[in-house]
Amino acid sequence: MEPWPVHPSKLKLAAVSFPDKVLMIAGNNDLNPQTWLEEHGDYLFSYGLLRVKDTHLAEDLVQETLLAAISAKNTFSHQSAIRTWLIGILRHKLIDHFRRQGREVAVGDLVDQDEGDNLDDFFRANGRWIEKPDAFPNPESAFQQKEFWKIFQECLSGLKPKQAEVFLAKEIYGMSNENICKDFALSPTNVWVIMHRARLSLNRCLKINWVD
C-alpha cells in the first residue's frame, strides 16, 4: 500500500513533517499521557462517535478513557501498542455507557461479530449478485455536499462493530494491514473478509440513502 500523506492534525504538532509511519512508531508506545490525546485523541473520538453517534458524548468518552488510562498507567503491558490498550479501555467505557442506558452489552458484542464468509445478503448461491451494483455519481460533486457526509457517517455507524473498527483504522486512519492484524489479533484472511463485507455494506447503504 502507498504511504499516506501526513495527517493534518500531525502537521499542527510537528514543525517538521515526518512521514506518518515514522510518527506512528515514534508515538506508538510513548508512556507520557500528555501525548496520548495528541496522538490518539482523534482516533478514540471517531471510534466512540461511530458507536454512540453523539459528538459531545464521544468527547466525554475520550476524556474518561484517558483519565482511566492515566490511573491505570502501571498496568500497561508493553506487549500491545498504546493505541490498542487505549481502545480496550474505551470499549469498557462504552459498555458502561450502554449499561447506564439500560442496554445489556458484553465486550463480545462490541468486538466479536464474525459472520465468517457468509455473504448471503449480497450473493445468490450461484455467486451472482442479488442486487447488481450501479455506477455511483461523480465523487467530487458528492463530497461538496454536507448531506453526503452525514449519510457517510451514518452508514459507517451502521456497520457491525468489528467491520466499523477495522474500516476506520484502515481506510480513514491509514493503518497498514500488518498493524491491523497485530492490533486486532486478526489473520490477513480475516482482514480481507471483514473489509469485503464492510465495503459491500457501505456501498449498499450509500446507494439506498444517497444515490437513490
Binding site: W4, L49, V62, L67, Q153
Partner: protein, 81 residues
C-alpha cells in the same frame, strides 16, 4: 471462470495489496465481461476517496475546544502524579 462473489472478493482485496498474477488476470477478465462487478470496483474507488476525504473534511476530528477541555481536565486530574 470467477463468479461475481469471488470477483468482488478479489476486487476488494486488490484495494489493499497486489494480487497474485493469475488472480489478477482472472479478475481483469471477469471485469471486462461483467458490468456489475466493474461498477462495484468503481464503488470501491469512490469509497476509498470518501474515506480519505472524510478524515480532513469531516467531523472525525476532535474540535480544538474539546481538545483544550480534555487537556485541562487531564492536568487537574489527581491520578496523575
Amino acid at each position: 471462470m470467477l463468479n461475481c462473489k469471488q470477483a468482488s472478493q478479489l476486487a476488494s482485496r486488490a484495494m489493499d495489496e497486489k494480487l497474485p498474477l493469475w488472480k489478477n488476470i482472472a479478475l481483469k477478465m471477469h471485469l471486462i465481461l461483467c458490468r456489475s462487478c466493474a461498477n462495484f470496483t468503481w464503488q470501491l474507488q469512490f469509497l476509498r476517496k470518501a474515506s480519505r476525504r472524510s478524515k480532513s473534511n469531516h467531523s472525525f476530528l476532535l474540535t480544538d475546544e474539546a481538545r483544550q477541555r480534555i487537556t485541562n481536565t487531564l492536568k487537574d486530574n489527581p491520578a496523575e502524579r
